[in-house]
């Protein structure tokens, strides 16, 4: 934190510096990455199950299994990445931190950065992108569309990771995500399996990175004590 103050104070505006400080605080124990990584691995498992179960005829039992599994993952993903769900994930993170980390790292309540207007704008952009994708899908042949889709997802997710995270580890993960998107896009695997590979890779990466950060965070605090 101190190094951050020294490093950025001469160049950044105070508000930007404050935001960066809060982001550092939020990411310092690796818990957000672990939570996101876990959710992405679940989504990957769902995609993999779909790919395996869809292979061959669809028996009634298979259909029920797919439905239950899909609903479970949709509910979990929605509860984590949606606006009300993000509050739930935030609550989980706060609970974990208060229960296990407060005596080591202290407690800090960040300011809410997102206002309703920004969230509405984000939702609008998402809707526009989804509509554009649907329109493009009508015009472009499936193999070409699927390839472009994975490359676009890789670039988008990797770019967000690198830009929002700002730390070197997020930049590295962003680059690997882009590379993964390109590789998966050009592979000849079935669509569901490609999704499974992409989510599994990004999820495992986030989980491992978060676990390393958490271990280092706990060790550093234990040494201080």
């Amino acid at each position: 934190m101190m190094s951050l103050l020294h490093r950025s104070s001469s160049t950044a505006a105070p508000d930007a510096l404050a935001r960066r400080m809060m982001q550092d605080t939020h990411l310092r124990d690796g818990l957000p990455e672990i939570v996101v990584g876990g959710i992405l691995l679940l989504v990957a498992a769902q995609s993999y199950t779909m790919a395996v179960l869809l292979h061959g005829g669809l028996l009634v039992l298979k259909r029920i299994l797919i439905l239950v599994w899909t609903l479970l993952v949709i509910a979990l993903t929605f509860s984590s990445f949606s606006i009300p769900g993000a509050t739930g994930t935030g609550w989980l993170l706060r609970w974990l931190r208060r229960r296990y980390l407060i005596s080591r790292s202290g407690y800090v309540k960040p300011r809410s950065e997102w206002n309703k207007r920004q969230l509405a704008l984000l939702g609008g952009i998402g809707l526009l992108v989804a509509t554009a994708l649907l329109l493009v899908r009508r015009e472009v042949a499936p193999p070409l569309f699927d390839r472009g889709l994975f490359i676009a997802i890789g670039v988008f997710v990797g770019g967000i990771e690198a830009l929002v995270g700002r730390h070197p580890r997020f930049r590295a993960m962003g680059l690997l995500t882009v590379a993964c998107g390109i590789l998966v896009g050009f592979s000849r695997l079935p669509l569901q399996l490609r999704f499974a590979v992409f989510y599994a890779f990004t999820g495992a990466m986030a989980l491992i990175s978060g676990a390393i950060v958490l271990a280092r965070f706990l060790r550093a605090n234990a040494e201080e004590e």
Binding site: M2, L5, P14, A18, S103, S105, G106, Y107, V108
Partner: protein
Amino acid sequence: MSEKIQTLAGIDRIVHEPARLMIVALLAAVDEADFQYLHQATGLTKGNLSVHLSKLEEAGYVAIQKTFRGKYPLTLCRLTQRGGEVFRNYRKVMRAAL
């Protein structure tokens, strides 16, 4: 130019001290933080931090609330409205003068 420089004479001396400035700047970026977080973030010793927090509390810039979280004592600190105004004014004066 000299008028701008002269505004520095009226700067708040309580906030201007480096350790206290660090505390106020940190608290301005958050809703509230506890003693342990401030200790880690500023790098000040616990005794030093305690003294500076007391001075800021006396001036009415920081509100301190002592509670418990389970078995652990929790000293919550937040910038008061007055503290926020003083800090904003401090930034404005420094930006204008330097």
